[in-house]
Symmetry: C3
């Protein structure tokens, strides 16, 4: 996953960015525990930097192309802010369907064109494997900002960073994932990132939206344990992390089934009364009713802090792949 | 209207921004004459700065989210340029209907997400009260860039600033507002901002598009005077300010009525021959025929200077709410 | 083509930018050989600057409005990157149809509005002559980024710059243009720019898509020579430059005709075996099949280097018209 060439600009010693300099960020599978700790450490530094000074000039004069084939305001805004707070500039390409990109040009050519102008390319695409395909051609680092139902590695990183920061550790926790576990890219990536850490997984979903076989086998294969549930009450009392995702009506062919289950997947203050005092509720946002507004006041509601952490994680990744971390 | 929290960054002494630091800008009603004078003074400084140096680094490292739920090229461009000329960066969110913002997320959540990335949020929305609703949730300053037929305070400020700058004062003037006074957000806000200054208002419009009762009562309640007219010739000779807005065909159910009146609401060199030598013609732009191009050559045509003043006023507001004015 | 006014900012001595300071860039016709050499020299400096340092602060505090009435991701991205690598800022206006610009406002008013905020306006428009019309009203420099089937002067400049850089000279070459020569704006502009240099032109196209009379007469009138062909094999062995453009199916009323010719206009490694060792293949991109991917590995494939050169040429033009070259 190393970008195939580098510029002539002054670069850091090879070991200062823990091997991330010039690399693509494509999948959670590429992060060893050491690299993860390194990224979290840089993210902590970014937090300090933003809170004290607002920004820095680490990436001054560098350009990030924000290439979004499908819209995602919060992800694109988060990357944009991350680059800007490091002193860099952004070329936003959000409306791909109105652009020459859609005139039948291949992703390979689009990426090779943009790297003539930019130093790093953030790519959001609707097809699984798009980021890897882009990386095959690119001479500059590609950061995968979500490719279809495939990976969304920066989301998984910010999720893991949030757990570590909120609970002090990533190991030996009980982590419940709730909602649409079948199509939820974020819960797939996060599960993979949390393997081999002694985590007990609780997968809570309607039968129709169970965690895919592939992921369940990866959990078992890693020597970790999981149980599956339809009722959140079965596990709410023991979890350290409740990771909520949306159950979309459109996923159900049988609307009676949807009506039967939907209320079990709405998080309320009443439900949280059954939860531990030291636990957190997470959500990748946007939410549309699956966590009520009253929950926001609960100190265990971590989702806006999670959102904020996305900024620091993305700053850390940009600085690292551009050799300035 | 104070944003509910502040960052840890160094901040100015409390009194240097006349109380605007950390505040939301929601309505013209929040500007006392003192605050108005303060903003105009800062705007004058911004003019000098731009004319001499092009830009400054007052807001370097700060980020403005430009959140536009309905398109408005000139307002969004004006805010963007204002932020950039102060050394800041912008996250533009113009195509809300293509973004996750439109996936049913509440304005409250969108604002709380964006403030994780940005230091100030400029909001344009199609619903009255949207800016106040956003401000209820935001911890960073919200600047209302127009909410439906509600308020457009920065437009009113730049209008008042233009009058003061062009005519040397804001008091004891005769101000005519012409065109669509019923739906025209800008004339409503400007009227409110000019109350209690000894202004004589002349409201010139088709009967169908008269100034709403509510505004007329506010004028009377403030002890100011107004008269209403259908024919601009009745008042053109005496006005210090002729504020023109567009009469849209679509507002008329009776097209014969439209045909009868439309020509009375087109400003021409002939009409201006009846006007005083010391007066100004204003327009919020864009115009579509209601002021002929020949008028542009007239030194009394102030609308492009008015447009330019928008830059200085928005620079002043951004600097003030971010504590750098 | 001189912009009608200038700002009060410090400016360079009149002769340092070879007369380009404050000028509009509207047509290839305005470039004398001397000015061309000057621009190429500045572009060379920009290349060094980008390769060594990534960026400069020559245009710090200056703002470019990127006004695109029709979408063109690569042109707008290229201009954006050019401005950013010079330290400047950009106001992107890409979705004109969703903006107030489309509310019936004239181009003249739009330009006069944007120049209230920006220091230079890059304009892409679907109508021939739009850039000249904009320049008629503007007080700040207009750069034509393509107006309908009219001109695209910065594309022609980067094409000529690529030839000079790749082959060491612009004179006494054999230049083939291939594909859709009838509607291809880029080949029209490039042909004009290469006149009076002893170039032998080879125009290769389906009969339906021949180079227009007007251009052929300009070539002859300049004392240069051209021949026309339908079969690229007739000339591939002798050309120094093979400039490829796309043959679009939609141009043909007789699809049998299209089927008959289309394969003659696809560049493959087999075809290039007939070409000289010292020659280059160019393409304005995007391509959709008219050059196969295998060709990319050939060192004579210059189209991505050509793309990169676009950045340097646009940096040079921006620096020149803003008086900082």
């Amino acid at each position: 996953m190393k970008a195939r060439s580098t510029s002539d600009r002054p670069r850091p010693a090879d070991n200062t960015t823990n091997g991330l300099y010039g690399q693509h960020i494509l999948s959670v599978r590429q992060f060893t525990p050491e690299v993860l700790e390194y990224i979290f450490g840089v993210a902590d530094e970014m937090r300090t930097l933003v809170e004290r000074f607002g920004s820095a000039d680490l990436l001054q004069g560098q350009i990030m192309a924000n290439l979004f084939y499908e819209p995602s305001t919060r992800t694109s805004s988060s990357f944009m802010a991350a680059m800007q707070r490091l002193g860099g500039q952004v070329i936003p390409i959000n409306s791909v369907k109105f652009s020459s990109v859609s005139k039948g040009e291949s992703l390979a050519d689009t990426v090779r064109t943009l790297e003539c102008y930019a130093d790093v390319i953030v790519l959001r695409h609707y097809e699984v494997g798009a980021a890897a395909e882009a990386a095959r051609w690119a001479h500059k680092p590609i950061i995968n900002a979500g490719d279809g139902v495939g990976e969304h590695p920066t989301q998984a990183l910010l999720d893991a960073y949030t757990i570590r920061r909120e609970l002090g550790r990533l190991d030996n926790l009980t982590v419940a994932m709730l909602g649409d576990l079948r199509f939820g890219r974020t819960v797939h990536s996060l599960t993979r990132l949390l393997l081999r850490r002694g985590i007990t997984f609780r997968f809570v979903s309607p039968r129709l939206l169970r965690m895919p076989d592939e992921i369940r086998q990866e959990v078992t294969g890693a020597g970790d344990t999981f149980t599956e549930h339809e009722d959140v009450h079965e596990i709410i009392g023991e979890v350290d992390v409740l990771y909520v995702t949306r159950v979309q009506k459109e996923r159900f062919t049988d609307l009676a089934e949807y009506e039967r289950v939907k209320d079990s997947y709405i998080i309320t203050p009443e439900l949280l009364r059954e939860a531990k005092e030291q636990m957190i509720v997470m959500h990748p946002l946007p939410r549309v009713g699956e966590i009520t507004y009253e929950v926001d006041e609960d100190p265990r509601a971590a989702y806006f802090r999670q959102m904020q952490n996305g900024l620091y994680i993305r700053m850390a990744l940009l600085a690292a792949v551009l050799g300035r971390a």
